[in-house]
């Protein structure tokens, strides 16, 4: 059972004369969280969830398209949710500036109201155009809410919307030759908000989610500017994935929760390595399409420069081995031009290197999660070879048993180590 929070017992301590009111205030400032000041975490969750449900409800009701209502009635209705949302945001700004629940709830409601308003006007006048145009208009309209009142929930919605818009422009347009240039501008517009949140609330859960959405948005968006997809494009993917895994080293703010960048970058890198561990992939290597080479070269250059910069604060293979993945993939790619078989072997070796280093880091730091991730990389590399090799069932069975025993042994060993350390403490 957990005891009361320090901020909850402060009035009692002041009453009993143990601390002064000024000291209590100092402690409250030091230990009281933003959400606590705003009326509690639960209130915040319900405010966001409630506003989101009401906002989505308005959108759905409007999507019904009430033919019986006159054009002027529908026009008035289109602006009602916007005015309601704006009123609530203004009230929150003036009367409840420190209450996070007010800020988030009213901003989400206003964002949904704006989307509903654009929908209704499109319905009234039968305005054509695809979903990308609609998402672009809505993104531009909700962008100011990132700064005034400064809502992280709207920021998540905004990042999701601009990425979706970019995806549609690239893949669902008839010509498929369009590039999502708006995405770059819209992403740049959100960057000051993200950096400010990193400085002010870098250690909060809110920033963890923001980092995840930002990493996914930048990761997906960066890959939508190619003309075509060939083997060489994997270089660009791996280079940027390597940069992502270096973000905690590059931003220089200690304790900031930028782990999602590593998560997205590491997962992308491992998936790419797994795909390229198959020999037939290298055999179909096509270097005919050269239109994207400047972009691929730019991404690779960014990857190399970021890696070189990180060497000032990080030793090679320190913490996690993924930043080194770019060098390993680059070597495999150059070899693959001349010998597909050798390139596939090199990628397999690279996967084993990544796996071994992850296991070593996991055991050194006593992290079961990281050690098991390393073991999973190693065993996945072995199992993937079942598909392109002619091993008989007995050998396959023995490999399964071996890998299973390895997992059990390593986990038991770490649990025992932990128990010993606990007893010693």
């Amino acid at each position: 059972m957990s005891g009361p929070r320090i901020t909850q017992v402060l009035p009692e301590l002041v009453r009993e004369g143990i601390i002064s009111a000024a000291q209590a205030e100092l402690i409250r400032v030091r230990y009281g969280t933003d959400t606590e000041r705003g009326g509690g975490r639960l209130l915040l969750v319900f405010a966001i969830l409630g506003s989101l449900l009401v906002g989505l409800g308005i959108l759905l009701i409007i999507a019904h398209n009430w033919d019986d209502l006159s054009r002027s009635t529908r026009t008035v209705l289109a602006f009602l949710p916007v005015l309601l949302g704006q009123g609530l945001v203004l009230y929150g700004l003036v009367r409840r500036p420190d209450v996070v629940a007010w800020r988030e709830g009213s901003a989400v409601l206003l964002a949904c109201g704006l989307c509903a308003c654009v929908s209704l006007i499109a319905q009234i006048h039968h305005i054509g155009g695809g979903l990308d145009g609609y998402l672009l208009t809505c993104s531009l309209l909700i962008l100011p809410l990132l700064y005034l009142p400064g809502s992280f929930c709207v920021a998540l919605i905004y990042l999701a919307m601009i990425t979706w818009q970019a995806w549609i422009v690239r893949f669902e347009h008839f010509s498929a030759s369009d590039r999502p240039w708006w995405f770059l501008l819209l992403l740049l517009a959100a960057l000051p908000y993200y950096l400010r949140q990193g400085r002010q609330r870098g250690t909060s859960t809110v920033f963890w989610w923001l980092s995840l959405f930002m990493a996914l948005s930048v990761g997906i968006g960066s890959q939508l500017f190619y003309v075509d997809w060939t083997h060489a494009h994997a270089l660009g993917v791996v280079a940027l994935a390597g940069v992502f895994t270096l973000v905690p080293w590059l931003h220089g703010v200690s304790g900031s929760r930028t782990w999602p960048w590593v998560l997205v970058g590491g997962a992308t890198m491992l998936i790419t390595f797994c795909v390229f561990s198959f020999r037939p992939i290298w055999e179909g290597m096509d270097a005919e399409e050269r239109a994207d080479w400047p972009l691929i070269a730019a991404y690779t250059a960014v990857g190399i420069i970021a890696y070189l910069l990180s060497l000032r604060v990080r030793r090679p293979f320190e913490q996690w081995p993924y930043p080194e993945g770019l060098a390993l993939f680059l070597i495999s790619f150059l070899v693959g031009i001349f010998s597909p078989a050798l390139a596939a072997i090199l990628v397999n070796i690279a996967l084993l290197v990544l796996g071994v280093f992850t296991v070593v880091h996991g055991t050194e730091r006593g992290s079961l999660r990281r050690m098991n991730l390393g073991l999973t990389i190693l065993s996945a590399t072995i199992f993937m070879r079942f598909f392109d090799s002619d091993l008989n069932f007995v050998v396959r069975g023995l490999l399964f048993i071996g890998v299973g025993c390895g997992f059990l042994f390593m986990n038991l060993r770490m649990v025992r180590q932990r128990n010993k350390q606990d007893h010693a403490a």
Binding site: L59, I62, A63, H64, N65, W66, D67, D68, T75, A78, F79, V82, L83, Q86, V89, L90, L93, V94, P97, L110, L114, C115, C117, V118, S119, I121, A122, Q123, I124, H125, H126, I127, G128, L131, Y134, T137, L140, L141, P144, L148, P149, H173, F174, S175, S177, D178
Partner: protein, 205 residues
């Protein structure tokens, strides 16, 4: 705090101004625009945010026009302005594609993707393509306009056209007319069975 409130006031006005501007612009076209009838055949899709609509494929989008940028054969999205006129039956037709918006006459901005070997455009895209309907009315409209196979031989569906107001290159669809009746009248007073012999129905007005 006062400064933030004032700043938000400016943002709020801008947020209201964008949809209001869209609305005013379209209202102007609706009241002052020239009326054109575009022959069409609707199909029924949905939009996750904006609801149900019928997608309109217009006859006027097919033809043979000299491309303003004839000579550049590369495949890709191109833009031009289509000059409009009406045929003897009263339907809209595109007479010419030009590079710049004309000072007089009705015109529309259009898009096209390929130019034939003779420098001609055979398919283009008009700037309006959908007509929103109340939830559930999309499939009914599509059914109304589909050929009837009930007696073994397909009947020709009722002729349909969109009534479009056009002003300074902006266009608004004001009604969808099926066999001389607005689609809204059809939906309020649906036929007991889809008229089978509608081939001779007069088209548009």
């Amino acid at each position: 705090m006062r400064r933030r409130a004032i700043l938000f006031g400016v943002v709020a006005v801008a947020q209201l101004a964008v949809p209001a501007w869209m609305l005013i612009g379209h209202e102007r076209v609706r009241s002052d625009g020239a009326v054109f009838l575009f022959k069409t055949a609707p199909v029924d899709p949905r939009d996750p945010f904006r609801g149900e609509y019928v997608r309109l494929n217009f006859e006027a989008e097919q033809g043979a026009w000299r491309a303003p940028d004839a000579g550049t054969m590369a495949y890709g999205q191109r833009k031009a302005f289509a000059l409009l006129d009406t045929d003897t039956a009263g339907y809209a037709r595109i007479t010419k594609l030009v590079e710049h918006a004309p000072d007089q006459g009705s015109y529309l901005p259009v898009r096209y993707w390929s130019i034939g070997e003779e420098g001609t455009v055979s398919t283009l895209e008009l700037p309006f393509d959908r007509y929103y309907l109340e939830e559930g009315d999309g499939p009914k409209t599509e059914e109304l306009l589909a050929p009837d196979w009930s007696n073994g031989t397909p009947s020709t569906p009722l002729p349909a056209h969109a009534v479009v107001r056009i002003l300074e290159g902006q266009a608004i669809i004001t009604d969808l007319v099926v066999g001389e009746r607005s689609i809204h009248d059809w939906l309020k007073d649906p036929p007991t069975e889809v008229p089978a012999a509608a081939t001779s129905a007069p088209t548009g007005s």
